[in-house]
């Protein structure tokens, strides 16, 4: 598999399946693991990093889920190719930017991946579309079992799996749900929701990880604690919160349609109009317009646009995807032109199909 072919396809978790309400885009499960006998990321030598990679790749070869997976060492990729992987949620910015022997192993449909030599030796990830968090959880547990049987993991019976950062100790499990909550933002209820979530020890982030803003009304909600609760109860807790948030968003959508149907439809169709005809689109403007169109689709105002199409458009218009598609470096101004071109072209295709 080459990276060039990657940018033209959408990862399976963006298919829009399992998203009956049009609110939950995907669910992600991540496990942090370290091999016994090697120092963690801050202390490891390059030789040891290579040994870790060799051990993990050997273990993956014998596994059922990763035997045909592709491995990319960061050293063979240029800066933009690494960013493409970040934009596809296959690697973290840390893995892309740090020095040393590092890489990522992922399967054909990008639903399963293993980052090697991030701050922990292993970061296992499973993503599933829509509300299918249980699928992602089952997949990550299966992969974990296979790898744990082949390598020796750093573990303590009292405090569980040992990780470089104490915020991941124990289960090493971070589960997250990616949700589109435009009506809660429009009705100005989101701030209260955020307050409530942080009181209940859930972390909320924007779509592209730590510290980012909530571009396009997309929120990533995840568990904060990894120690003291079982994997299963972390899963149930998060799914329950997601369920509650779907309910809140639905209520907010209902009151929008009841009290301000005209304004809401106007907002949706204006967004659709701009996306269909604009010649210049900045990333932020695009994300906001996309959110309005997505809301329109959820409410049945706009018809015939599948949510998987909107998800793919979101990935394809990311800066490094645009650059990879162009085959050369782009200035920010050129990128905004190309983004608008791509959006017009794709929207006219979906309209004619």
């Amino acid at each position: 598999m080459k990276l060039d072919s990657l940018i033209r396809t959408a990862p399976s978790w963006m298919s829009g399946d399992g998203d009956a309400d049009g609110i939950v885009i995907s669910c992600r499960a991540r496990l942090a693991r370290n091999l016994a006998g090697y120092p963690f990321g801050t202390r490891i030598t390059q030789t040891q990093q290579q040994q870790v990679i060799d051990e993990v790749l050997a273990a993956a070869k014998t596994s059922r889920s990763m035997s045909t997976a592709t491995y990319f060492g960061m050293s063979v990729l240029d800066g933009n190719e690494r960013r493409v992987l970040v934009e596809r949620h296959l690697i973290s910015p840390t893995l892309a930017d740090e020095k040393g022997e590092r890489g990522v192993l992922f399967n054909q449909d990008e639903s399963l991946s293993v980052m090697i030599n991030e701050e922990d030796h292993l970061r296992l990830q499973a993503i599933s579309p829509g509300t299918r968090g249980r699928d992602a959880f089952a997949a990550i547990c299966a992969l974990d079992d296979e790898l744990l049987n082949a390598v020796n993991c750093a573990h303590d019976p009292r405090i569980g799996f040992l990780t470089a950062c104490p915020t991941n100790t124990g289960t090493g499990l971070r589960l997250s749900v990616l949700m589109h909550l435009p009506a809660l933002v429009l009705t100005e209820d989101m701030e209260r929701v955020l307050q409530g979530l942080s009181h209940l020890s859930f972390t909320v982030r924007g779509v592209y990880g730590e510290g980012s803003n909530a571009a396009g009304n997309l929120f990533q909600i995840s568990n904060q604690a990894t120690l003291g609760a079982s994997e299963q109860s972390i899963l149930e807790g998060l799914l329950r919160i997601a369920e509650q948030l779907i309910g809140y968003e639905r209520d907010a959508q209902d009151s929008l349609t009841k009290e301000a149907r005209g304004q809401m439809e106007d907002k949706v169709w204006r967004a659709y109009g701009i996306l269909s005809h604009a010649r210049i689109l900045t990333s932020q403007e695009f994300m906001n317009l996309l959110s309005a169109v997505r809301l329109g689709c959820t409410l049945g105002v706009v018809q015939g646009i599948p949510s998987g199409f909107l998800n793919h458009l979101m990935i394809a218009t990311q800066p490094s995807h645009l650059r990879a598609e162009a085959g050369r470096g782009l200035t920010p101004a050129e990128r905004d032109l190309r983004r608008a071109d791509l959006v017009r072209e794709k929207l006219s295709q979906v309209n004619n199909s």
């Binding site: 040992l162 924007g206 994997e231």
Partner: protein, 174 residues
Amino acid sequence: MICDICNKRQATIEFTAIAGDAKKTLHLCQECSKQQGQKTEPVKLAHVPTDAKKVDVVIGQLAGAEAGKGLCPGCGMTYEEFRKVGRLGCSQCYAAFGTPLRRLLKRIHGSDLHVGRGPRAPTPVPEHGDSRTGTTAVNAEDLRSELAAAVNAEDYERAADLRDRIARLQEEGS
């Protein structure tokens, strides 16, 4: 229902989280959530602390009495150094930094006892006690005091496990 923040006004927004058998509910009133809301930009998430920052803050809070203790025989990291970088050097650091690190874990997670998967799935059973509750207590008396402590610490999941364990002990005894 009274607001959990001001303890005065009527709460109008409710959140529920389920951990195991236990339910944790939070009630907030309109004023409190609004007041808190004004302190932050609308729907900007930049104020959410990143993991590294969070560790720094918590480690900073625990500084003083714990400072300067501990040297890891595995990788040579000192506790002082760990406090600066927020990352441990190797798996042996956990044992080397003993009590202060366990206190830190408790502060971050609300618990310092692992429940769940082990290195060879499924979950291994320790030689003594109960793997789910992570307790080594075997009589109901001790379990009850652990239960009280768990409730006090609002660790409802552990409390529920302990409650079940006490119930099982009583069944066995009767």
